[in-house]
Protein backbone atom coordinates (compact mmCIF):
# COMPACT_ATOMS: atom_id res chain seq x y z
CA UNK A 1 0.00 0.00 0.00
CA UNK A 2 0.91 3.67 -0.37
CA UNK A 3 1.76 3.99 3.29
CA UNK A 4 4.61 1.49 3.07
CA UNK A 5 6.20 3.55 0.36
CA UNK A 6 6.22 6.49 2.72
CA UNK A 7 7.58 4.45 5.64
CA UNK A 8 10.60 3.35 3.66
CA UNK A 9 11.60 6.74 2.39
CA UNK A 10 12.99 9.80 4.13
CA UNK A 11 11.09 13.04 3.67
CA UNK A 12 13.02 15.49 1.56
CA UNK A 13 12.84 18.20 4.21
CA UNK A 14 14.54 15.97 6.80
CA UNK A 15 17.75 15.56 4.90
CA UNK A 16 19.61 18.12 6.97
CA UNK A 17 20.46 20.19 3.94
CA UNK A 18 19.28 23.65 2.97
CA UNK A 19 20.35 27.11 4.10
CA UNK A 20 21.16 27.47 7.82
CA UNK A 21 20.51 23.76 8.37
CA UNK A 22 22.51 23.84 11.61
CA UNK A 23 19.64 25.77 13.21
CA UNK A 24 16.68 25.71 10.85
CA UNK A 25 15.16 22.27 10.35
CA UNK A 26 12.41 23.26 7.99
CA UNK A 27 10.40 26.08 6.48
CA UNK A 28 6.73 25.31 6.16
CA UNK A 29 4.08 27.36 4.37
CA UNK A 30 0.37 26.68 4.62
CA UNK A 31 -2.53 28.13 2.64
CA UNK A 32 -6.13 27.63 3.77
CA UNK A 33 -8.70 27.52 1.00
CA UNK A 34 -12.44 26.93 0.88
CA UNK A 35 -14.54 26.06 -2.11
CA UNK A 36 -17.17 28.52 -3.23
CA UNK A 37 -20.70 27.24 -2.76
CA UNK A 38 -19.98 24.65 -0.06
CA UNK A 39 -20.74 25.02 3.65
CA UNK A 40 -17.64 25.17 5.86
CA UNK A 41 -16.56 21.95 7.52
CA UNK A 42 -17.63 22.40 11.13
CA UNK A 43 -21.24 22.93 10.02
CA UNK A 44 -21.29 20.49 7.09
CA UNK A 45 -23.42 17.37 7.31
CA UNK A 46 -21.99 13.95 6.40
CA UNK A 47 -23.56 14.17 2.95
CA UNK A 48 -21.98 17.54 2.27
CA UNK A 49 -18.60 16.36 3.53
CA UNK A 50 -18.69 13.41 1.16
CA UNK A 51 -19.62 15.76 -1.66
CA UNK A 52 -16.70 18.08 -0.89
CA UNK A 53 -14.23 15.21 -0.60
CA UNK A 54 -15.22 13.63 -3.90
CA UNK A 55 -15.31 17.03 -5.62
CA UNK A 56 -11.73 17.70 -4.54
CA UNK A 57 -10.64 14.16 -5.36
CA UNK A 58 -11.96 14.51 -8.92
CA UNK A 59 -10.35 17.93 -9.40
CA UNK A 60 -7.01 16.75 -8.10
CA UNK A 61 -6.96 14.13 -10.85
CA UNK A 62 -6.90 16.96 -13.37
CA UNK A 63 -4.31 19.36 -11.97
CA UNK A 64 -0.96 19.46 -13.82
CA UNK A 65 0.89 17.87 -10.91
CA UNK A 66 -1.66 15.06 -10.39
CA UNK A 67 0.72 12.24 -11.25
CA UNK A 68 3.00 13.20 -8.38
CA UNK A 69 0.26 12.86 -5.77
CA UNK A 70 -0.61 9.96 -3.52
CA UNK A 71 -4.24 10.38 -2.48
CA UNK A 72 -5.16 8.79 0.83
CA UNK A 73 -8.59 8.69 2.44
CA UNK A 74 -8.37 8.81 6.21
CA UNK A 75 -11.03 6.12 6.61
CA UNK A 76 -8.65 3.62 5.01
CA UNK A 77 -5.96 4.26 7.59
CA UNK A 78 -5.35 2.62 10.96
CA UNK A 79 -4.75 4.84 13.98
CA UNK A 80 -1.03 4.12 13.73
CA UNK A 81 -0.94 5.12 10.08
CA UNK A 82 -2.69 8.38 10.88
CA UNK A 83 -0.30 9.12 13.72
CA UNK A 84 2.55 8.27 11.37
CA UNK A 85 1.41 11.03 9.00
CA UNK A 86 1.24 13.46 11.93
CA UNK A 87 4.78 12.54 12.95
CA UNK A 88 5.89 13.20 9.39
CA UNK A 89 4.25 16.64 9.59
CA UNK A 90 2.04 15.75 6.64
CA UNK A 91 -1.28 16.14 8.45
CA UNK A 92 -2.42 17.90 11.62
CA UNK A 93 -3.32 16.23 14.92
CA UNK A 94 -6.95 17.23 14.35
CA UNK A 95 -6.98 15.67 10.93
CA UNK A 96 -5.73 12.38 12.38
CA UNK A 97 -8.19 12.33 15.26
CA UNK A 98 -11.38 13.26 13.48
CA UNK A 99 -13.66 10.77 11.82
CA UNK A 100 -14.51 10.07 8.23
CA UNK A 101 -14.66 11.95 4.96
CA UNK A 102 -11.22 13.41 5.35
CA UNK A 103 -8.32 12.84 3.00
CA UNK A 104 -4.80 13.91 2.26
CA UNK A 105 -2.90 14.15 -1.00
CA UNK A 106 0.83 13.80 -0.52
CA UNK A 107 3.42 14.55 -3.13
CA UNK A 108 5.94 11.72 -3.48
CA UNK A 109 8.87 13.61 -2.03
CA UNK A 110 6.62 14.78 0.82
CA UNK A 111 7.34 18.40 0.00
CA UNK A 112 3.67 19.09 -0.69
CA UNK A 113 0.62 17.88 1.14
CA UNK A 114 -3.01 18.86 0.66
CA UNK A 115 -5.41 18.10 3.49
CA UNK A 116 -9.03 17.73 2.44
CA UNK A 117 -11.81 18.53 4.93
CA UNK A 118 -9.62 19.73 7.73
CA UNK A 119 -10.94 22.88 9.42
CA UNK A 120 -11.08 24.37 5.93
CA UNK A 121 -11.98 22.45 2.78
CA UNK A 122 -8.35 22.58 1.68
CA UNK A 123 -5.11 23.07 3.52
CA UNK A 124 -2.12 23.25 1.19
CA UNK A 125 1.29 22.80 2.73
CA UNK A 126 4.81 23.02 1.36
CA UNK A 127 7.69 22.02 3.61
CA UNK A 128 11.35 22.50 2.67
CA UNK A 129 14.63 21.73 4.44
CA UNK A 130 16.42 24.67 6.06
CA UNK A 131 15.51 28.32 5.72
CA UNK A 132 13.84 28.68 2.32
CA UNK A 133 11.09 31.27 2.45
CA UNK A 134 11.32 32.53 -1.11
CA UNK A 135 11.47 29.06 -2.67
CA UNK A 136 8.70 27.83 -0.38
CA UNK A 137 6.42 30.66 -1.41
CA UNK A 138 7.25 30.20 -5.08
CA UNK A 139 6.34 26.53 -4.80
CA UNK A 140 3.08 26.85 -2.88
CA UNK A 141 1.97 29.85 -4.92
CA UNK A 142 2.48 27.84 -8.10
CA UNK A 143 0.46 24.92 -6.75
CA UNK A 144 -2.29 27.23 -5.54
CA UNK A 145 -2.48 29.06 -8.87
CA UNK A 146 -2.73 25.76 -10.73
CA UNK A 147 -5.46 24.54 -8.39
CA UNK A 148 -7.60 27.66 -8.62
CA UNK A 149 -8.09 26.97 -12.33
CA UNK A 150 -10.00 23.83 -11.35
CA UNK A 151 -11.44 24.74 -7.98
CA UNK A 152 -13.39 27.98 -7.43
CA UNK A 153 -12.21 29.46 -4.14
CA UNK A 154 -14.34 31.38 -1.64
CA UNK A 155 -12.94 34.90 -1.87
CA UNK A 156 -14.04 38.40 -1.01
CA UNK A 157 -12.39 41.59 -2.29
CA UNK A 158 -12.48 43.02 1.22
CA UNK A 159 -11.58 40.03 3.36
CA UNK A 160 -9.51 37.97 0.92
CA UNK A 161 -9.59 34.17 1.09
CA UNK A 162 -12.48 33.28 3.38
CA UNK A 163 -11.67 30.76 6.08
CA UNK A 164 -13.64 28.95 8.76
CA UNK A 165 -11.72 30.71 11.52
CA UNK A 166 -11.35 34.51 11.50
CA UNK A 167 -7.69 34.18 12.57
CA UNK A 168 -6.77 32.80 9.13
CA UNK A 169 -8.73 35.06 6.79
CA UNK A 170 -7.02 37.27 4.19
CA UNK A 171 -3.95 35.67 2.68
CA UNK A 172 -4.73 32.57 4.78
CA UNK A 173 -0.96 32.09 4.74
CA UNK A 174 0.74 30.67 7.79
CA UNK A 175 4.53 30.35 7.66
CA UNK A 176 6.17 28.16 10.30
CA UNK A 177 9.92 27.99 10.63
CA UNK A 178 11.23 25.18 12.81
CA UNK A 179 14.35 26.16 14.73
CA UNK A 180 16.67 24.10 16.89
CA UNK A 181 17.82 26.34 19.74
CA UNK A 182 19.72 24.21 22.25
CA UNK A 183 22.35 26.82 23.16
CA UNK A 184 19.69 29.41 23.96
CA UNK A 185 17.93 26.79 26.06
CA UNK A 186 21.11 25.88 27.97
CA UNK A 187 21.93 29.56 28.50
CA UNK A 188 18.32 30.24 29.59
CA UNK A 189 17.87 32.89 26.94
CA UNK A 190 14.82 31.37 25.30
CA UNK A 191 12.30 33.46 27.22
CA UNK A 192 13.90 36.63 25.89
CA UNK A 193 13.33 35.40 22.35
CA UNK A 194 9.77 34.29 23.06
CA UNK A 195 8.85 37.59 24.70
CA UNK A 196 10.25 39.60 21.83
CA UNK A 197 8.39 37.45 19.31
CA UNK A 198 5.04 37.75 21.04
CA UNK A 199 5.38 41.52 21.02
CA UNK A 200 5.60 41.54 17.24
CA UNK A 201 2.68 39.12 16.90
CA UNK A 202 4.62 35.95 16.12
CA UNK A 203 3.48 32.68 17.66
CA UNK A 204 5.83 30.06 19.07
CA UNK A 205 4.93 26.38 19.30
CA UNK A 206 6.66 23.06 19.92
CA UNK A 207 7.78 20.28 17.58
CA UNK A 208 4.29 19.10 16.70
CA UNK A 209 2.51 22.43 16.62
CA UNK A 210 -0.28 23.76 18.72
CA UNK A 211 -0.27 22.66 22.33
CA UNK A 212 2.97 20.66 22.15
CA UNK A 213 5.96 21.45 24.31
CA UNK A 214 9.31 22.53 23.04
CA UNK A 215 10.60 18.94 22.96
CA UNK A 216 14.24 18.58 22.01
CA UNK A 217 14.69 22.37 22.03
CA UNK A 218 12.70 22.74 18.81
CA UNK A 219 10.61 25.82 18.33
CA UNK A 220 8.20 26.59 15.52
CA UNK A 221 7.86 30.27 14.87
CA UNK A 222 4.94 31.45 12.80
CA UNK A 223 3.12 34.60 11.76
CA UNK A 224 -0.23 35.32 13.35
CA UNK A 225 -1.47 38.16 11.19
CA UNK A 226 -2.94 37.07 7.86
CA UNK A 227 -5.13 40.04 6.93
CA UNK A 228 -4.00 43.48 5.81
CA UNK A 229 -0.58 42.38 4.63
CA UNK A 230 0.39 40.86 1.32
CA UNK A 231 2.05 37.45 1.21
CA UNK A 232 5.32 39.16 0.34
CA UNK A 233 5.05 41.47 3.34
CA UNK A 234 4.46 38.50 5.64
CA UNK A 235 7.47 36.72 4.12
CA UNK A 236 9.63 39.85 4.46
CA UNK A 237 8.79 40.17 8.14
CA UNK A 238 9.77 36.56 8.70
CA UNK A 239 12.91 37.13 6.63
CA UNK A 240 13.86 39.97 8.97
CA UNK A 241 13.15 38.20 12.24
CA UNK A 242 14.53 34.67 11.81
CA UNK A 243 18.17 35.61 10.98
CA UNK A 244 18.31 37.59 14.23
CA UNK A 245 17.40 34.47 16.18
CA UNK A 246 19.91 32.42 14.18
CA UNK A 247 22.60 34.95 15.03
CA UNK A 248 21.63 34.89 18.72
CA UNK A 249 21.80 31.07 18.83
CA UNK A 250 25.15 30.96 17.01
CA UNK A 251 26.68 33.55 19.33
CA UNK A 252 25.61 31.56 22.35
CA UNK A 253 26.99 28.35 20.88
CA UNK A 254 30.39 30.00 20.56
CA UNK A 255 30.17 31.56 23.98
CA UNK A 256 29.22 28.25 25.61
CA UNK A 257 32.18 26.52 24.00
CA UNK A 258 34.57 29.24 25.14
CA UNK A 259 33.18 29.49 28.65
CA UNK A 260 32.97 25.91 29.75
CA UNK A 261 34.43 23.86 27.01
CA UNK A 262 34.73 20.68 29.03
CA UNK A 263 31.35 20.84 30.72
CA UNK A 264 29.35 21.26 27.54
CA UNK A 265 31.44 18.71 25.65
CA UNK A 266 30.91 16.33 28.53
CA UNK A 267 27.12 16.63 28.40
CA UNK A 268 27.13 16.18 24.64
CA UNK A 269 29.30 13.05 24.80
CA UNK A 270 27.25 11.64 27.69
CA UNK A 271 24.08 12.06 25.63
CA UNK A 272 25.81 10.30 22.75
CA UNK A 273 26.91 7.52 25.09
CA UNK A 274 23.44 6.96 26.49
CA UNK A 275 21.82 6.73 23.09
CA UNK A 276 24.48 4.32 21.83
CA UNK A 277 24.15 1.98 24.77
CA UNK A 278 20.71 2.28 26.38
CA UNK A 279 18.53 -0.84 26.45
CA UNK A 280 15.25 1.00 26.88
CA UNK A 281 14.45 4.68 26.41
CA UNK A 282 11.39 6.96 26.28
CA UNK A 283 10.60 9.36 23.48
CA UNK A 284 11.16 12.41 25.72
CA UNK A 285 14.59 11.24 26.85
CA UNK A 286 15.53 10.44 23.27
CA UNK A 287 14.59 13.92 22.09
CA UNK A 288 16.61 15.49 24.91
CA UNK A 289 19.78 13.56 24.03
CA UNK A 290 19.34 13.89 20.26
CA UNK A 291 19.13 17.63 20.75
CA UNK A 292 22.55 17.67 22.43
CA UNK A 293 24.04 15.38 19.79
CA UNK A 294 22.69 17.64 17.07
CA UNK A 295 24.37 20.55 18.83
CA UNK A 296 27.55 18.47 19.11
CA UNK A 297 27.64 17.84 15.36
CA UNK A 298 27.14 21.50 14.57
CA UNK A 299 29.86 22.49 17.03
CA UNK A 300 32.23 19.90 15.60
CA UNK A 301 32.38 18.01 18.89
CA UNK A 302 30.87 14.90 17.30
CA UNK A 303 32.34 14.00 13.94
CA UNK A 304 31.35 10.40 13.28
CA UNK A 305 27.65 10.87 12.52
CA UNK A 306 25.64 13.21 10.31
CA UNK A 307 22.96 15.84 10.73
CA UNK A 308 20.78 13.88 8.34
CA UNK A 309 20.95 10.79 10.49
CA UNK A 310 20.08 12.69 13.66
CA UNK A 311 17.22 14.57 11.97
CA UNK A 312 15.82 11.24 10.85
CA UNK A 313 16.13 9.78 14.35
CA UNK A 314 13.95 12.59 15.74
CA UNK A 315 11.11 11.38 13.52
CA UNK A 316 11.79 7.63 13.32
CA UNK A 317 11.87 7.22 17.10
CA UNK A 318 8.34 8.63 17.45
CA UNK A 319 5.72 6.05 18.54
CA UNK A 320 3.93 5.49 15.23
CA UNK A 321 7.14 5.34 13.23
CA UNK A 322 8.57 2.68 15.53
CA UNK A 323 5.42 0.61 15.20
CA UNK A 324 5.40 0.96 11.42
CA UNK A 325 9.01 -0.16 11.29
CA UNK A 326 8.33 -3.09 13.66
CA UNK A 327 5.23 -3.87 11.58
CA UNK A 328 3.09 -4.36 14.69
CA UNK A 329 1.41 -2.53 17.55
CA UNK A 330 3.64 -2.06 20.57
CA UNK A 331 2.75 -1.15 24.13
CA UNK A 332 4.71 1.85 25.46
CA UNK A 333 7.22 -0.29 27.41
CA UNK A 334 7.95 -2.41 24.33
CA UNK A 335 8.23 0.72 22.27
CA UNK A 336 10.95 1.99 24.60
CA UNK A 337 12.92 -1.20 23.98
CA UNK A 338 12.37 -1.04 20.22
CA UNK A 339 13.41 2.61 20.26
CA UNK A 340 16.68 1.91 22.09
CA UNK A 341 17.44 -0.90 19.67
CA UNK A 342 16.69 1.23 16.62
CA UNK A 343 18.86 4.11 17.85
CA UNK A 344 21.72 1.76 18.73
CA UNK A 345 21.65 0.25 15.26
CA UNK A 346 21.80 3.68 13.66
CA UNK A 347 24.43 5.31 15.86
CA UNK A 348 26.97 2.53 16.25
Amino acid sequence: MNMDKLTNQVSDWLKGSGPDADIIISTRLRLARNIRGFVFLSYALAKQRIEIESFVHEKLKKVPFHDKLIYIQMKDLSLIDRQFLVERHLISQDHAKASSYRAVAVERKETLSIMVNEEDHLRLQVILAGFQLADGWKEINKIDTQMEKYIPYAFSPQFGYLTACPTNVGTALRISVMLHLPALAIARQIDKVLNALSRIKFAVRGFYGEGTQALGDFYQISNQVTLGKSEQEIINEMQNVIPEIIKFERNWREKLLDDNNKKLKDSIMRAYGILRHAETITSEETMKHLSLIRLGINMNVIKDTTLKKINELFIYTQPAHLQKISKRELAPSLRDIARAKYIKAHLN
Binding site: R36, P157, Y161, T167, V169, G170, S230
Partner: protein, 174 residues
Protein backbone atom coordinates in the same frame (compact mmCIF):
# COMPACT_ATOMS: atom_id res chain seq x y z
CA UNK B 1 10.29 18.47 32.94
CA UNK B 2 8.56 15.88 35.13
CA UNK B 3 5.70 16.62 37.49
CA UNK B 4 7.05 17.35 40.97
CA UNK B 5 4.26 15.42 42.57
CA UNK B 6 3.92 12.11 40.71
CA UNK B 7 7.33 12.20 38.98
CA UNK B 8 5.75 10.33 36.10
CA UNK B 9 4.03 12.65 33.68
CA UNK B 10 5.33 15.79 32.07
CA UNK B 11 4.68 18.98 33.99
CA UNK B 12 2.28 21.16 32.04
CA UNK B 13 1.20 23.53 34.82
CA UNK B 14 3.86 25.96 35.97
CA UNK B 15 3.07 28.22 38.88
CA UNK B 16 5.12 30.80 40.71
CA UNK B 17 3.99 31.30 44.30
CA UNK B 18 4.92 34.56 45.89
CA UNK B 19 4.73 34.51 49.67
CA UNK B 20 4.58 37.44 52.11
CA UNK B 21 8.31 37.82 52.30
CA UNK B 22 8.35 38.17 48.55
CA UNK B 23 10.04 34.79 48.28
CA UNK B 24 9.23 33.10 44.99
CA UNK B 25 8.64 29.40 44.76
CA UNK B 26 8.15 27.58 41.48
CA UNK B 27 5.79 24.64 41.22
CA UNK B 28 5.66 22.30 38.22
CA UNK B 29 2.82 19.79 37.99
CA UNK B 30 1.12 17.61 35.43
CA UNK B 31 -2.53 18.24 34.51
CA UNK B 32 -3.84 15.44 36.72
CA UNK B 33 -1.94 16.40 39.86
CA UNK B 34 -2.86 20.06 39.40
CA UNK B 35 -6.51 19.01 39.19
CA UNK B 36 -6.20 16.83 42.29
CA UNK B 37 -4.70 19.70 44.24
CA UNK B 38 -7.59 21.85 43.13
CA UNK B 39 -5.39 24.56 41.72
CA UNK B 40 -7.29 27.43 40.18
CA UNK B 41 -5.79 27.17 36.75
CA UNK B 42 -6.68 26.51 33.17
CA UNK B 43 -4.10 24.39 31.36
CA UNK B 44 -4.75 25.92 28.02
CA UNK B 45 -7.26 28.21 26.40
CA UNK B 46 -8.67 26.94 23.18
CA UNK B 47 -8.76 29.30 20.22
CA UNK B 48 -12.54 29.27 20.46
CA UNK B 49 -12.40 30.49 24.05
CA UNK B 50 -9.94 33.23 23.25
CA UNK B 51 -12.01 34.37 20.31
CA UNK B 52 -15.27 34.30 22.24
CA UNK B 53 -13.48 36.53 24.73
CA UNK B 54 -12.79 38.96 21.93
CA UNK B 55 -16.29 38.80 20.58
CA UNK B 56 -17.93 39.18 24.00
CA UNK B 57 -17.53 42.93 24.46
CA UNK B 58 -18.73 43.54 20.93
CA UNK B 59 -21.78 41.42 21.56
CA UNK B 60 -22.82 43.70 24.39
CA UNK B 61 -23.36 46.58 22.03
CA UNK B 62 -24.80 44.77 19.11
CA UNK B 63 -26.68 41.99 20.82
CA UNK B 64 -30.10 43.51 20.15
CA UNK B 65 -29.94 43.56 16.36
CA UNK B 66 -27.09 41.10 15.81
CA UNK B 67 -28.51 38.25 17.91
CA UNK B 68 -31.38 37.78 15.48
CA UNK B 69 -29.17 37.71 12.43
CA UNK B 70 -29.09 34.37 10.71
CA UNK B 71 -27.32 33.31 7.54
CA UNK B 72 -29.80 32.06 4.93
CA UNK B 73 -27.20 29.83 3.35
CA UNK B 74 -25.71 27.83 6.24
CA UNK B 75 -28.33 28.61 8.85
CA UNK B 76 -26.02 29.69 11.67
CA UNK B 77 -26.81 32.73 13.78
CA UNK B 78 -24.43 35.36 15.04
CA UNK B 79 -24.77 33.75 18.47
CA UNK B 80 -23.65 30.39 17.01
CA UNK B 81 -20.62 32.07 15.49
CA UNK B 82 -19.85 33.71 18.81
CA UNK B 83 -20.06 30.38 20.60
CA UNK B 84 -17.97 28.35 18.14
CA UNK B 85 -15.69 31.10 16.84
CA UNK B 86 -16.08 29.42 13.45
CA UNK B 87 -18.00 30.56 10.40
CA UNK B 88 -20.58 28.28 8.81
CA UNK B 89 -20.00 29.40 5.24
CA UNK B 90 -18.43 32.13 3.13
CA UNK B 91 -21.67 34.19 3.18
CA UNK B 92 -21.33 34.71 6.95
CA UNK B 93 -18.62 37.25 6.34
CA UNK B 94 -21.20 39.49 4.63
CA UNK B 95 -24.18 38.63 6.83
CA UNK B 96 -22.34 39.29 10.11
CA UNK B 97 -20.10 41.99 8.65
CA UNK B 98 -21.01 44.58 11.26
CA UNK B 99 -19.77 42.35 14.07
CA UNK B 100 -16.83 40.91 12.17
CA UNK B 101 -15.09 44.10 11.10
CA UNK B 102 -14.20 45.16 14.67
CA UNK B 103 -13.22 41.57 15.46
CA UNK B 104 -10.79 41.41 12.53
CA UNK B 105 -9.44 44.80 13.50
CA UNK B 106 -8.55 43.34 16.89
CA UNK B 107 -7.06 40.09 15.59
CA UNK B 108 -5.15 41.39 12.58
CA UNK B 109 -5.06 45.14 13.08
CA UNK B 110 -6.62 45.44 9.63
CA UNK B 111 -9.87 44.83 7.77
CA UNK B 112 -8.80 44.97 4.13
CA UNK B 113 -7.11 42.15 2.20
CA UNK B 114 -3.90 43.13 0.42
CA UNK B 115 -2.68 39.77 -0.82
CA UNK B 116 -3.19 37.46 -3.75
CA UNK B 117 -6.40 37.51 -5.78
CA UNK B 118 -7.55 34.33 -7.54
CA UNK B 119 -7.39 34.59 -11.31
CA UNK B 120 -11.09 33.78 -11.56
CA UNK B 121 -11.98 37.04 -9.84
CA UNK B 122 -12.77 39.61 -12.51
CA UNK B 123 -10.22 41.85 -14.17
CA UNK B 124 -11.80 45.10 -13.05
CA UNK B 125 -11.27 44.17 -9.44
CA UNK B 126 -7.69 43.18 -10.16
CA UNK B 127 -7.09 46.55 -11.75
CA UNK B 128 -8.64 48.42 -8.85
CA UNK B 129 -6.55 46.48 -6.38
CA UNK B 130 -3.35 47.08 -8.28
CA UNK B 131 -4.03 50.81 -8.15
CA UNK B 132 -4.70 50.66 -4.42
CA UNK B 133 -1.51 48.70 -3.80
CA UNK B 134 0.56 51.16 -5.79
CA UNK B 135 -1.05 54.07 -3.95
CA UNK B 136 -0.12 52.40 -0.69
CA UNK B 137 3.43 51.90 -1.86
CA UNK B 138 3.59 55.54 -2.96
CA UNK B 139 2.43 56.79 0.45
CA UNK B 140 4.99 54.61 2.16
CA UNK B 141 7.81 55.91 -0.05
CA UNK B 142 6.79 59.51 0.57
CA UNK B 143 6.78 58.84 4.30
CA UNK B 144 10.29 57.44 4.14
CA UNK B 145 11.33 60.28 1.79
CA UNK B 146 12.44 58.01 -1.03
CA UNK B 147 11.34 60.44 -3.67
CA UNK B 148 13.05 58.93 -6.69
CA UNK B 149 11.32 55.60 -6.17
CA UNK B 150 8.10 57.48 -5.38
CA UNK B 151 8.26 59.20 -8.75
CA UNK B 152 8.56 55.82 -10.46
CA UNK B 153 5.54 54.50 -8.63
CA UNK B 154 3.59 57.68 -9.44
CA UNK B 155 4.32 57.11 -13.13
CA UNK B 156 3.12 53.53 -12.85
CA UNK B 157 -0.14 54.74 -11.30
CA UNK B 158 -0.61 57.24 -14.08
CA UNK B 159 0.01 54.62 -16.73
CA UNK B 160 -2.47 52.25 -15.10
CA UNK B 161 -5.14 54.95 -14.92
CA UNK B 162 -4.61 55.86 -18.55
CA UNK B 163 -4.96 52.22 -19.51
CA UNK B 164 -8.34 52.07 -17.80
CA UNK B 165 -9.70 55.13 -19.55
CA UNK B 166 -8.31 54.17 -22.98
CA UNK B 167 -8.75 50.41 -23.09
CA UNK B 168 -8.09 50.30 -26.84
CA UNK B 169 -4.63 51.70 -26.35
CA UNK B 170 -3.72 49.33 -23.62
CA UNK B 171 -1.45 47.29 -25.83
CA UNK B 172 0.29 50.26 -27.32
CA UNK B 173 3.99 50.31 -26.70
CA UNK B 174 5.53 53.47 -25.33
Amino acid sequence: MLCQNCQKKNATVHLTEISNQNVQKEIHLCDDCAHKQGLPYKAQFSIAEILSGLIEPLMGKAIGEMANLKCQNCGISYVDFKRQARFGCADDYEVFKEGIVPLLERIHGATQHHGKIPSQVNQELLHERKLKDLQRELNQLIRTEEFEKAAEVRDKIKKLKDKATKPNNSKRKK
